[in-house]
């Protein structure tokens, strides 16, 4: 038994220490946003965020997550209240089949958390480990830029109000 903290909630997990995080997320916690693609850490569709960094959950045994915070796409927003990255991907229609998109969004989210205004080149370099076979790369790039803008305005507006008071 170990405690796994996912999207702010503690879960008691009964799994072998070498079980990949992806299996626990999907099979035990029924969090299905992270996808099984290659199972070898080569496609990126299983990407989640661990302590602020993008991690490939299919090659991450749960024993490495003791005391760490796991965030999956479900932890960012809901259908009713999507997070900026989710809104941006929808507004740019960045998904075609959509299989890679959850992983794309998680890696982009991790990038935007440490670099709020990435250049095109930085986004390309960051998303390199995540593959998309439909070919919506240009839309994904636009979506990440749009998410950066959305986060920017979301952060600025309360501050603007404060300074106005």
């Amino acid at each position: 038994m170990m405690t796994l903290k996912v999207n702010g909630q503690d879960h008691q997990i009964d799994a072998e220490p070498d079980t990949p995080l992806l299996y626990v997320l999907r099979d035990d916690l029924k969090l299905n946003a992270a996808k099984y693609g290659c199972g070898l850490g080569q496609c990126g569709s299983c990407t989640v965020i661990v302590d602020g960094k993008a991690v490939l959950s299919c090659v991450t045994p749960v024993l490495l997550l003791e005391g760490k915070q796991v965030t999956t796409l479900e932890g960012l927003g809901t259908v009713a209240a999507p997070s900026p990255i989710q809104r941006a991907f929808m507004e740019e229609q960045a998904a075609q089949c959509g299989y890679c998109i959850a992983g794309m969004m998680m890696r982009a989210q991790a990038l935007l958390q440490r670099n709020s205004k990435p250049t095109d080149e930085q986004i390309r370099a960051e998303l390199e480990p995540n593959l998309c076979r439909c070919g919506t790369h240009m839309r994904i790039l636009r979506a990440v830029h749009r998410a950066a803008q959305l986060m920017d305005t979301a952060e600025l507006s309360p501050a603007g109000q404060r300074s106005a008071q």
């Binding site: 850490g41 080569q42 090659v59 440490r114």
Partner: protein, 453 residues
Amino acid sequence: MKKKSGIIGSVVVALLLGGAGMAFAIAWRPAIAAIDPPKPQSFDASLVRRGRELAALGNCNDCHTVRGAKNFAGGLPVPTPFGTIYSSNITPDAETGIGRWSEAAFLRAMRLGVDRQGRHLYPTFPYDHFTNVSDDDDRALYAFLMTREPVHAPPRDNQLAFPLNQRVVVAGWKFLFLRPGAYKPDPTRSAEWNRGAYLVEGLAHCGACHTPRNALGAEKLNAMFAGGDVDHWRAYPINAQSPAPVPWNADALYAYLRDGFHSDHGTARGPMAEVVRNLSAVPGSDVRAIATYMADVFGAPSAEQKQRGEAALAQVKSAPAATTVDSPAGSIYVAACAGCHESGRPPPYGGINLALSTAISGSDPRNLANIVLAGVRPVEGERSPIMPGFAASMSDTQVAALLTYLRARFSKQPAWTDLGNIVAEARRTQTASMETPADARNASAASTERAKP
């Protein structure tokens, strides 16, 4: 008495003058007249093509190009125990490159390590090897470089303390360590062996990384190819002391150098990645010659080495599926490594069985730490291996535990020591660009790195 001291005095003066004269003769090199940059059309196309292949054999682009900048425009910081030296602009730009260098000036730089103006070049430019290159090959290299796009990129100032920042000091280094002159073939050896020796000891300058250096930064002639250091990586011993589990032979070397991987040895990454990328674009006969010569340098495997190789290959064949998990590090191996490294798929798409890994059987754990943390990134336009890095999911302690486990399970060598510091240092150097905090990732940071991973 007076007469005697007079004699001593004149002897001292004569010695001083003689010494000064000798020092002058050793140190002073005249400038060679500047020329107007020759027009690209003035060079014979077949000579330029030959020069392109030679430049690839010499790996010139690797040190003379930085990521995100133009080819051959220089500016790469090369850290040395003596300070940081920046590579120069070898495009034919008239002001900042070698546009005003005549062919004679270029030949002198290759043979003697002196620039057009007569200044001594630091031996980070490996003229201790390039002195072996023939005049004909130097002419082809000159034709190739002078037909590249001229790039205006002023040289960066070296960071060297006095007296090393005085280029005249280099004259003393050359007096001790540079043996000028083109390669002399060994008539008792085959033409292929001699071709390989000419390339390895000359233009390809393999020893610059693979031979250890003495306190003055010169290659130790009594330890040729015994292993060296480059950019926080270990350049493995490539002589009889090779730690490779399966002994190298000419065929394996040829395939590895040509394709960048071999199923008994794995893939060439780290600073070797650019070398094999370049060697994929040169005549196969030259790679074959290098392999022939280097197989001789490795020597025939000893009985013990042969046995070690057979044992490693047997371990691969009989390896049980990774189900026995006896420790946290073993669990990490099963979940993070075995999926590729026990897949049985050949490289570059599958990882080699780690019983064959020189990174694990070698004495220096840095290469393994680098790869585990940073992974292997795909290279644009290449059939290159990829591996995810684990810097984001494993702590230094966990990486160290994994390395200890791999060493114990896959080699017969004694456990590594000081892994905590080594892993921390690997994280610092290998993942700098991944770990950069908010907004600090910019072009100027990238421009201090080599063009390719």
